[in-house]
């Protein structure tokens, strides 16, 4: 539907791809794991966890600055929306005003006739389906036949300015046939005939998982106490400060460049090829500085395909910047979950069986939903040993924006339910909830009931730390009415063991360049989304080669320049890219060390590269030169310096269908204690403080780890008390599925004045397989926030908050609907009685 006068690049209309076979990359069939030799990481003389230069670390473990930090705080960082190319057009998306409607016809003639409008595309121009999980590709860049939620994208207009594009949208006439909309889990299951997504295997079923480990019913039967309860976890969204934005430029040679605020450059690269029908080798994807993502940018979105297509049609660069409202529609946030748990315990505090039934509201599309459904059960089996465990999870489609991975993907909701269950069980048997958690500690170097390999595990130290820091023993169950303490624990993955699409290639890779200038450049597909991923690579190179942070450049997330990394999701970057970088850097260190050892006639093991100097430890006054000179010596001896490192996780996971989902080379562990001050007259809960103890293996930069711990605890706190991604119920006057307020005014993220004091306590278990022993820190510390607050509210008021959010109206209703004061007093008596039992 482009205008005849719109310039067009030669050969700019390739036929759309017709199936997976046309996808840009050839995926080898058959084996899903690389050769066994590739699964064994390179051995190093100094080992993977220790310092490479002498007895101590020089950069690792220090409170280092982030490499991009100064650019950000001085306003110099270049985000996608800062990019402006000559002759660039701006595009806007037309979105559905109905929650569920068939698209009968689209007339864009008036829009195209408007001065300043260059092209319009609709679903017919981009018919190829895509989706982050290869088995559930159910999205189109623009809806071709049906809109599935209020805000679903239908058409895109490219114009001279955003304003013209926006005005042109209003001239596009869409004929709809409004269909009955599904807006809840219950409706989705009750009305399979009103199918939201035709790609569903049946009705509105997105995914169903049923897994059982051990004799659950038998052990529940044999329990001294069983607690059965239902929990509701409300949906929430990521709300990164930077809205999604991309610029696409299709040049005269038929080469497409896309700059996008994404956290998965590689997957975007693949899906662009698929949807646009271009070979991957003629597409370049670049991730500029990203202003936050939290999982909300971990798959392709309409804007990238539309900007690219419009650039192909017009022969001009095209930018699309989502409004804040559109970010709420793009969503992929926390899934609402209805969780039903039965959990048993013996009088001595040991857990018996756990039986979970979980219903998941997925919104209109699959996104990562297959994984979400597994994660809702698979990631609960540590840090506590579970003798028997069963979960039955069902994800359904509804006519609402699509849910997806938000920080702590899939496991924050069940973790909330389970940690509340533990608190109730502890109360039933009159045991301190921290003691119950200790009692069931799964331990190190073990396997979970569902077959996950657990190596390092600092959870007990986490519990000890928050117990001590919060003065738990003296204050829990002893604070006046209205004030309380609550505890919760959790575990999380350091990357998933397998790539989203089966292949034998590395999950992460680094190319390292070093030359006579004394400068090192790290090339890596890593996606820094603010968590400090680029910085981690720089720290590792500094540590290995004795360089100053200013002498290392990280070139990241540019498919033309950098080797593939799978992206910033599932807390994988530090562990996987870090390992790849460690191996690359250590090869160059080896070349430098062997050069100097030969020249000085000293054993190689004596060489220390630190603080810009290369010395032999036996006589550092005699044998010393600058690292720059050492690099030149190595370049003279070995020729041009460069190395490649890659990471591939070992074969892990349970030997059953879905047994690899949740498998990770290492797990982080967290414990929180939250302190609340509640107003029984209003129901207002003020969280005074959260103590966060997190086992991140070795903290490569403690200040960055603390930032992740505080940010996670804050985000969980926001979900617990404030944030709701909800929709207005239909009335006689308007249809269903209208977001309650897609703005940062109505979607109430806590402000700095609402935020509790956060105290981060780093626990370093030093993982045998992590780079220098590091594990994840970006998502794990979110999990215990919500249940710790719920448990603290119980200690304060005697009510159980089983439904999110714990808003003042909800808490007040709980207080008025129960004998809260009586429950509060009984809990204290139970605790006093338990004290006698020790």
């Amino acid at each position: 539907m482009s205008k005849p006068r719109a310039p067009r690049a030669a050969g700019a209309r390739p036929k759309p791809a017709t199936g997976p076979a046309r996808a840009g990359m050839t995926i080898p069939e058959g084996r899903q794991m690389p050769d066994a030799s590739r699964l064994t990481p390179p051995a190093h003389e100094a080992g993977r966890t220790g310092p490479p230069n002498g007895d101590a670390f020089h950069t690792i473990g220090k409170r280092n600055r982030k490499v991009e930090g100064l650019a950000k705080v001085t306003g110099r960082a270049v985000f996608a929306d800062d990019l402006t190319l000559p002759r660039m057009l701006h595009a806007k998306l037309l979105r559905s005003i109905h929650a569920h409607a068939r698209i009968l016809a689209i007339d864009a003639s008036q829009a195209l006739a408007m001065p300043g409008v260059h092209a319009v595309v609709t679903g017919r121009d981009l018919p190829e389906y895509f989706g982050i999980i290869p088995w559930t590709q159910d999205e189109q860049a623009l809806c071709e036949s049906k809109a599935r939620y209020v805000g679903d994208a239908i058409a895109a207009v490219a114009a001279d300015s955003e304003l013209i594009a926006e005005e042109a949208l209003r001239l596009i006439k869409v004929s709809y046939e409004v269909l009955p909309a599904i807006t809840s889990i219950e409706e989705a299951l009750a009305h399979p005939e009103n199918q939201v997504n035709e790609k569903a295997s049946e009705g509105n079923l997105s995914k169903h998982v049923h897994l059982e480990f051990g004799p659950v019913d038998e052990l529940l039967e044999a329990s001294d106490e069983v607690v059965e309860a239902e929990y509701w976890y409300e949906g929430s969204t990521h709300a990164p400060i930077e809205p999604h934005c991309c610029v696409a430029e299709y040049d005269a040679t038929g080469f497409l460049t896309v700059w996008s605020s994404t956290q998965v450059v590689h997957y975007l690269h693949r899906d662009l090829a698929k949807v646009l029908g271009l070979p991957t080798q003629r597409i370049r994807v670049i991730q500029p500085v990203v202003g936050g993502a939290f999982g909300g940018k971990s798959e392709p979105f309409s804007l990238e395909f539309c900007a690219a297509k419009l650039s192909m049609l017009t022969g001009r660069p095209v930018k699309i910047l989502y409004t804040r409202e559109e970010v709420f529609y793009a969503h992929r946030g926390r899934h609402p979950m209805l969780l039903h748990y039965r959990t048993g315990i013996r009088r001595d505090g040991s857990l018996t069986g756990t039986d979970a039934r979980i219903a998941i509201d997925g919104g209109a599309y699959s996104s990562f939903g297959l994984v979400t459904t597994y994660y809702s059960g698979q990631l609960l089996t540590a840090p506590y040993a579970m003798p028997a465990y069963r979960f039955d999870s069902t994800r359904v489609f509804t006519n609402k924006p699509c849910c997806g991975p938000k920080r702590g993907h899939g496991s924050v909701q069940p973790r909330f339910a389970f940690e509340c269950q533990l608190d109730k069980l502890a109360e039933r048997i009159g045991m301190d909830p921290i003691a119950v958690r200790r009692k069931n500690f799964i331990g190190e170097n073990t396997r979970t009931v569902n077959g996950l390999r657990v190596t390092s595990n600092g959870f007990l130290e986490c519990l000890d730390a928050v117990e001590r820091a919060s003065d738990w023993k003296r204050r829990w169950r002893n604070l006046p009415y209205g004030r309380g303490l609550g505890v919760a624990g959790s575990m999380y993955i350091s990357g998933t063991n397998y790539c989203i699409y089966p292949n034998e290639m590395p999950q992460s890779a680094v190319q390292l360049k070093l030359d006579r200038s004394g400068r090192a450049t790290v090339f890596c597909g890593i996606s820094d989304i603010g968590q400090g991923a680029d910085s981690v690579l720089a720290y590792i190179v500094c540590e290995e080669l004795g360089l100053d942070l200013r002498d290392v450049r990280v070139v990241a997330a540019d498919t033309d320049l950098t080797p593939v990394d799978l992206g910033s999701y599932s807390s994988r970057e530090t562990f996987m890219c870090g390992n790849a970088c460690l191996d690359a850097a250590r090869q160059l260190r080896e070349q430098i060390a062997s050069t100097l050892a030969e020249r000085w006639g000293v054993p190689k093991g004596e060489l220390v590269l630190a603080n810009g100097m290369a010395v032999a430890a036996s006589d550092p006054h005699k044998y010393a030169m600058t690292v720059k000179d050492a690099i030149q010596a190595a370049e003279a001896a070995h020729g041009t310096l460069g190395s490649v490192g890659w990471y591939q996780s070992p074969k892990l996971g349970g030997d059953y269908r879905g047994g690899t989902i949740g498998a990770s080379p290492a797990y982080s562990f967290t414990a929180h204690v939250a302190e609340v001050d509640c107003d029984p007259e209003t129901g207002e809960v003020t969280v005074k403080k959260i103590w966060v103890a997190h086992d991140c293996g070795r903290a490569l930069s403690p200040v960055a780890v603390e930032g992740q711990m505080e940010g996670s605890a804050y985000m969980g706190f926001g979900e617990a008390l404030f944030e709701t991604h909800t929709f207005k119920p239909a009335t006689a006057a308007h249809g269903p599925g209208i977001h309650h307020g897609p703005s940062l005014l109505d979607y109430r993220m806590p402000t700095s004045l609402d935020t509790p004091e956060l105290e981060s306590i780093i626990i370093e278990s030093v993982d045998p397989e992590g780079p220098y022993g590091a594990k994840e820190a970006g998502e794990g510390p979110l999990h215990p926030s919500v249940p710790a607050i719920a448990n603290a509210i119980h200690d304060a008021l005697g009510v159980r908050c089983d439904r999110l959010p714990f808003s003042p109206p909800a808490v007040l209703a709980l207080l008025q609907g129960s004998d809260a004061r009586g429950a509060w007093e009984r809990a204290r008596l139970g605790h006093a009685g338990a004290g006698a039992r020790g």
């Binding site: 005003i97 209020v150 409202e325 009335t731 004045l753 609402d754 007040l812």
Partner: protein, 330 residues
């Protein structure tokens, strides 16, 4: 990002010039002082003026003056300046307190007294983008014909959301209005009308120039309480301003204003019978609170649970009265 519509922008240097601009295009102008409310409303296409008249250049509107009549505050005095004005803190503490509770420091640095007083009413069905309102089917305040709060209602019930107005009314403040025929004073509680579409008496060719806090209102105890989900940013879900003459042993008079319910602030009726001559104790406060609870009925216009807001009326009234009699309160 959301775009601004196309409009003509003028920046007159005097009040007369402002009035000329307004008179030239009657009904097609939008006055902008700090712009903290006007700009988002423009982006949402809630206002679609042909001409935007900036008040930035009118020095007169920035005057603060104390004389026998009382404390004169220019309409373009910022909210931050109000919070730091010693005369206001001393004699009219509830106004300073209310100003300090608007939005955030950055917004108070830009937002003005006049802007907050003339703040457009707010509603969960109105303060949304054009797209959102289109999906809704619009509402009678803008572009539509029905009210989504009171489905059979013919009148807009969008909520008066100014923080400073209830406090000003409680002190009996006067508002000066300038128009083509000169200037006039009206009592602040007469400034507002119960129509959510346009909830004050300003005509299209008029503007507020200053507010007078009368000398006679000095020496009272004042307090302001605001119900909001967050401790910053949010508009009031409910607001209570109270001004009392007397002391703890004997209350002479009390004035209590409740807002963020309907289109105009509500001055609580029948208060004298409950407080005059009584002690400032919990019994008295409870009687006032119960009366307020009976007189106020929140609607679903404000995006928060209306039953809870109703339940909070007596709680906030009691707390505001306690504040007024707390040590150090003026």
């Amino acid at each position: 990002m959301l775009t601004l519509p196309v409009f003509e922008w003028v920046r007159p240097e005097s009040l007369d010039a402002v009035l000329r601009e307004l008179a030239e295009r009657p009904g097609e102008c939008l006055l902008v002082a700090g712009g903290t409310d006007a700009v988002p409303n423009l982006k949402h296409r809630l206002h679609e003026p042909k001409r935007v008249v900036s008040l930035e250049g009118v020095a007169e509107l920035r005057e603060v003056r104390e004389d026998d009549a009382g404390l004169h505050l220019g309409a373009r005095v910022t909210l931050t300046e109000l919070t730091r004005l010693p005369a206001l803190q001393r004699d009219f503490a509830a106004v300073a307190r209310a100003a300090s509770m608007v939005a955030s420091p950055q917004i108070r640095n830009m937002g003005t007294l006049g802007g907050n007083l003339c703040l457009d009413t707010r509603c969960t069905y109105y303060n949304q983008t054009y797209f959102w309102r289109e999906a809704l089917g619009f509402c009678l305040k803008k572009d539509g014909v029905i009210c989504h709060v009171v489905p059979q209602g013919r009148r807009c019930v969008a909520a008066h959301s100014s923080d400073v107005a209830p406090a000003l009314i409680a002190y009996g403040a006067q508002v000066e209005i300038a128009g083509p025929d000169g200037r006039r004073w009206v009592a602040c509680d007469q400034f507002f009308v119960g129509d959510g579409i346009h909830n004050n008496i300003l005509k299209a060719d008029e503007l507020v120039t200053q507010v007078l806090l009368p000398a006679a209102a000095r020496g009272q105890r004042g307090a302001y309480r605001k119900l909001r989900p967050r401790n910053a940013i949010d508009f009031p879900m409910l607001s209570i301003a109270v001004v009392v003459r007397g002391d703890a042993a004997r209350i002479d008079t009390a004035r209590l204003v409740v807002s963020a319910l309907g289109a105009k602030p509500r001055v609580l009726g029948g208060l004298d019978a409950l407080v005059a001559g009584r002690q400032a104790d919990e019994t008295t406060f409870a009687a006032v609170a119960a009366s307020a609870h009976k007189q106020c009925r929140p609607l679903t216009n404000v995006p928060y649970d209306d039953d809870w807001r109703h339940a909070m009326v007596p709680v906030l009234v009691t707390r505001a009265l306690r504040d007024a009699f707390a040590d150090g309160a003026a």
